[in-house]
Symmetry: C2
Subunit: 338 residues, 2 copies
């Protein structure tokens, strides 16, 4: 692949997304994107005893479904890359054990879906593996008690807070089979830290990371917002995406017309999620349903997905440290002739 | 790169390790490998207020030192890959922020050093980046309180327990510059779970993962232990490496002559670490000092490093789940003519 700048690379092989699967929970399934998701789980625990076991079950279901949807068996998959928000990426590890696939655990918080596409397509680019499974997800109730408070505590949510998406997005990417959707370029994020220490205010923490990656990508590809049908950030929420628009405007880029945030669009305003969705499952499930379907039909021809991650450690946060953030960008082309 | 089997790949480009740096704490610096380490830190807190901040400082020091040792500046490094044992890989993220390099966070627990070499060399193989920084580490006191008990609790250690290594190993790998040490093959691990639920008994949990990866590599490359000067596992400790020897003997492979375990050899028996060292910093620091130096001189010509990781989530462990484990293998060739 070709290095276009410090952060941006252009793939030389055609890397096709041959299947995508977006599975979400009930609340997400009642939002504006309900008709796009492949599966909606109404039981938050999916019949399991704990939220963590439910998260794992979502992963089992989505990864098995996407492999079936690609008309492959798990023996055809050469490599599984991905992660989740649970400490030690334990959901992904149980799934890797279940699938018995070679596995590389990735973690960049809510930027893990684009990180998976970046690592997966780089492996495909070498000509070594032919089919790679990428999957990422999160579960509201499991994440809340790990990162903030147990639900039983009943804490009041801040007006600038976001709601961790219960959902898993999974994709099979391939050089062996072709599809109308390709991964063509990516930009690897740099960690930015703007001094935010409030673990509820993730949009403000992550917006500078998104700005850094997106503006660098524009510079290194000599393009701007007008060259794309859609620019989607992962989970900045309403507040964070407003901050991003301001930051990009300062750099001379206008995000008023073709920009969305997956977290902002996954919930309706009357669903009481404050600024919208967040979590590794947010951009993963929205990309693998809403965005992917429109790339497949050719309604979107060029899309940039910038998943945003807040590397929010409760330990270092309690020690007064601010929240480092990262954003990885992947460029997709849709409606491609096979 | 060429796929040799389900898990094994052969690199086609010469990927050189142009610098390595092994930094450890005082206890490790009093062990049998003391003359090999590049730096020994006598203060467990390195002048910081907390163990977590000390871990971060070790990373700053080792990554800066390895870049200097490669006679490069940080602007010459295209990509930083790696992780640590802290939740959210927070030490690595702060270092990535400090270095301002494109960063991909990796997590396979104590198998993260070999995972970094695998991902880093795959990126180099594409011809995109030219110099990649790989780094992994751990800190005894930070890890103990996150995974088991705070030190102040003063719990009695089990006879089969291991001691998390305080140390960081960092390497710069390159296609642009050549050295006498190359990464030539690797095998990506599969997650195995043999039902161990005791968070102190990591050697027993991880030995089957090491067996699975090593025996698969032997099969897929049509080689056996006699084809290598050294076979080193990451941190099985004495008990775990004895289990591995038994498991490999059952498969027809004899590990009695040229096999070591980094965890077993990093401490002396009178240092009260029970079965020896563990942690992401264990194979990272031992490889980047002892093993790398002997590859550079050509004393070792072919080495297999199999870092072993226990994906030990305290949450799922308390829910009765067993510990999934993984092992990634990297093959190095030393004394190569540049």
């Amino acid at each position: 692949m070709k290095k276009l700048g410090k952060q941006t690379y252009e793939l030389s092989k055609p890397i096709s997304i041959i299947a995508g699967y977006g599975l979400v929970g009930r609340k997400e399934g009642e939002g504006p994107l309900k008709n796009y998701f492949d599966d909606i789980e109404n039981d938050d625990k999916m019949g399991e005893k704990t939220f963590e076991k439910a998260e794992r079950k979502m992963f089992y279901k989505a990864t098995s479904a996407v492999i079936r949807s690609a008309e492959l068996s798990k023996e055809d998959i050469d490599l599984y890359v991905g992660g989740d928000l649970m400490n030690q990426l334990v959901s992904s590890n149980y799934v890797a054990e279940n699938l018995q696939l070679p596995f590389l655990g990735l973690y960049n918080a809510c930027a893990t879906m684009t990180e998976s596409f970046i690592v997966g397509s780089t492996f495909l680019e070498t000509g070594g593996p032919s089919n790679v499974l990428c999957a990422t997800g999160s579960h509201f109730s499991a994440a809340e008690r790990q990162y903030r408070y147990p639900l039983e505590f009943g804490n009041q949510r801040q007006s600038y807070a976001q709601w961790t998406v219960t959902g898993v997005g999974a994709s099979v990417i391939s050089t062996k089979q072709k599809s109308s959707v390709r991964i063509t370029k990516f930009a690897i994020g740099r960690v930015t830290d703007f001094g935010i220490t409030d673990i509820a205010n993730m949009g403000a923490a992550m917006a500078p990371a998104a700005m850094e990656t997106l503006s660098t990508f524009f510079e290194e590809t000599n393009t701007n917002q007008e060259d794309y049908d859609l620019i989607a950030t992962g989970d900045l929420g309403k507040l964070g995406s407003d901050i991003l628009k301001d930051l990009m405007a300062e750099k001379g880029y206008d995000l008023e017309t073709n920009y969305i945030d997956c977290g902002h669009m996954i919930f309706n305003i009357d669903q009481d999620t404050m600024q919208g969705g967040s979590g590794a499952g947010c951009s993963a499930s929205v990309f693998n349903s809403y965005i992917l379907k429109k790339l497949q039909t050719g309604e979107f021809k060029k899309v940039l997905l910038i998943s945003t991650g807040a590397l929010m450690s409760t330990t270092t946060n309690q020690q007064g440290d601010s929240i480092p953030c990262i954003a990885h960008l992947v460029m997709f082309e849709g409606g491609v002739q096979c």
